[in-house]
Amino acid sequence: MSIDIRNVSKTFGTFKALDDVSLRVDSGELVALLGPSGSGKTTLLRIIAGLERADPGSGEMFFHDEDVARRHVSARGVGFVFQHYALFRHMSVFENVAFGLRVKRRHRPDRAFIRRKVLELLRLVQLEGMAGRYPHQLSGGQRQRVALARALAVEPKVLLLDEPFGALDAKVRKELRTWLRRLHDELHVTSVFVTHDQDEALEVANRIVVMNRGRIEQVGTPDDVFHHPATEFVMHFLGDVNTFHGRVNGGTVQFSELNLPFPENRRQIVGDARVFVRPYDVTIDTKMGGLPALEAKVARVHSAGPLVRVELVTSTNQRLVSEISQERFATMNLAPDSTVYVRPRHIRVFAGG
């Protein structure tokens, strides 16, 4: 079931939570809405679910070409998973999962069917034998899996997840998102999930919708948004980045005493520009070599981790960060105050000062 959102806006008082947003999610996709808090991602998800109404007259919404904008949340056929699980605390795990089947007004299934279905779902979310427990007897990860089973019980056309792993600790979060990805590959239900964690979005989603201040900044595959960010915001939001002020002049870009060729000036940038370099695209050498490089002094070294993070200060007092492999670090003998030569391997340039 595809989702088609056209020109949706939402205002809370004077705050514009969504500003003319359009988005299409294809059938069977797993899409991430990624953005900082206040970017409108949760509002968009709640509007899709019908828990929130778009501003009057502001837009349209279709589930597989069927207009659902005016349909009540209970008739939309969506499964919704909340950040804090929102399990029914007075019901056992079994009753929680069975809820959606028990409240059906038409074609309510019989007891045997409900039992079979619930136990099957509990197997799917790997909670066999937990049917009799109460929510307060489960860990966070288990609760979220119950919430997922409960949402899937009504066979939703669309599955919506609001920061589903946001309340879990780092390790469980990683396990659960890998698991969610596999589950989606099995079920193929059209899914949209909200997150502010770029790693989560990059790992789990087919496509990522990057949002900022109620608008969509970029829609693309994880590769697209990571390697070809469309805006400065996307560049900043998807990982650490070094920022320089520079100037574009014909086929070259000049920043921080460096003059680099800039042939692929697709956006026709002229004059003041901002230059971005990811830390892992900053190479360090102890010798000058032949290519243009910046002279810098080592300020700090963090070597605990898969990559070594080196904080540098250039002669013009510009701070930047480089990430190099442990092997490379071992060959270089870097210490605070040692002089090194820094070379950006890959830069991105956006217009503006």
Binding site: S92, G132, R133
Partner: protein, 334 residues
């Protein structure tokens, strides 16, 4: 039930006492003072009521309760509570629901208005109704022309009681419902439940304890209210005297034993209130355990068995803190 078992042993100061704890003597003194205060101002008067009530023997006690004026007062009190309590329960749930789960203009005003009966002296509450419905009141002439009696009759007593008792249920529920938020209701809606199904299956079970406690308090006050009812009742013996009014009449007639006998009934109500509260709490906990066991047994066919082992589950401990707890700061009035 569980507080936080952690963090006592680990945060020991150089003197071997946790920094937030007091010395043994200070603790004993504080607990002793609290108990002495309770004994002097709560337990002693309560005991005294029963001592004086039975002072002239059981026969006199029963006679005081069964004479016609006493029976009429008891009946009127029961009728008043039977009307006021259900209506205020309905109102309280509706108001708490509106305030806790929705945003709307005038919400603060509504919250303040609910508190009004607590802020106004009950005598004033009674006078309001006299000014409205009395012979010389706003609606008095019209009521008289249509032969409807409100003041100095049962309807006035019921109205005054309702006014005085209407905050109890709402006040008990509002913080509880606000703390629980709306996510469970939203879940139910996305799962296809209608508004009433959501209320009956999700909201009501979650507020059950608070609701029952609110109703108990409301009932205790409805039966015990003196001031407001005194103003609108007219003190017609055998007709418009409720139990508290009847007690006063007897007391002013120097019938001490009889007045204390009737008073003992109201005191019993306070004791019953506490008993009902304890039973409710105990039953809810037990029902939950039984339901859990049944489903667990039901599951045996499908694979593994999970004994309900709370003590081994570290998550269970912290989760108890999320359960609705009744505020212990309020006491039923007798």
């Amino acid at each position: 039930m569980g507080g936080n078992p952690a963090s006592h042993a680990c945060s020991v100061s150089p003197w071997g006492i946790a920094p937030t704890s007091e010395s043994a003597w200070t603790r004993r003194l504080l607990i002793g003072t609290a108990l002495a205060f309770l004994a002097l101002f709560l337990f002693l008067p309560l005991a005294l009521v029963f001592v004086v009530a039975f002072g002239s023997g059981v026969g006199a006690y029963l006679a005081a309760l069964t004479e016609p004026d006493a029976r009429s007062a008891i009946r009127l009190t029961l009728v008043t509570a039977a009307v006021a309590v259900p209506l205020n329960t309905l109102f309280g749930v509706a108001a708490a629901w509106a305030i806790a789960k929705f945003e709307f203009r005038g919400k603060n005003l509504l919250t303040t208005l609910i508190d009004l009966p607590f802020a106004v002296s009950p005598v004033i509450a009674g006078l309001i109704f006299v000014l409205l419905f009395g012979v010389r009141g706003w609606l008095g002439p019209w009521l008289q022309a249509n032969d409807i009696r409100i003041i100095f009759a049962t309807p006035g007593i019921v109205l005054a009681t309702m006014f005085v008792t209407f905050p109890f249920v709402a006040r008990e529920l509002i913080p509880l419902m606000q703390a629980q938020g709306t996510e469970e209701e939203e879940s139910a809606l996305t799962l296809g439940a209608g508004g009433f199904q959501t209320f009956r299956r999700v909201t009501l079970p979650n507020i059950k304890w608070g609701l029952i406690y609110g109703v108990i308090l409301c009932n205790a006050r409805a039966m015990g209210e003196f001031g407001a009812v005194s103003v609108v009742s007219g003190h017609i013996r055998g007709h418009t005297n409720t139990m508290p009014l009847h007690i006063e009449v007897l007391y002013n007639d120097y019938q001490t034993t009889a007045s204390f006998a009737v008073a003992s009934l109201l005191a019993l109500l306070a004791v019953a209130t506490l008993v009902v509260k304890s039973v409710v709490e105990w039953k809810t906990a037990r029902n939950q355990a039984i339901a859990a066991r049944e489903v667990a047994e039901d599951d045996e066919g499908s694979g593994s068995r999970y004994p309900m082992d709370l003590s081994a589950d570290p998550v269970g401990v912290h989760a108890l803190a999320c359960e609705p707890t009744l505020s212990d700061t309020q006491h039923a009035e007798a």
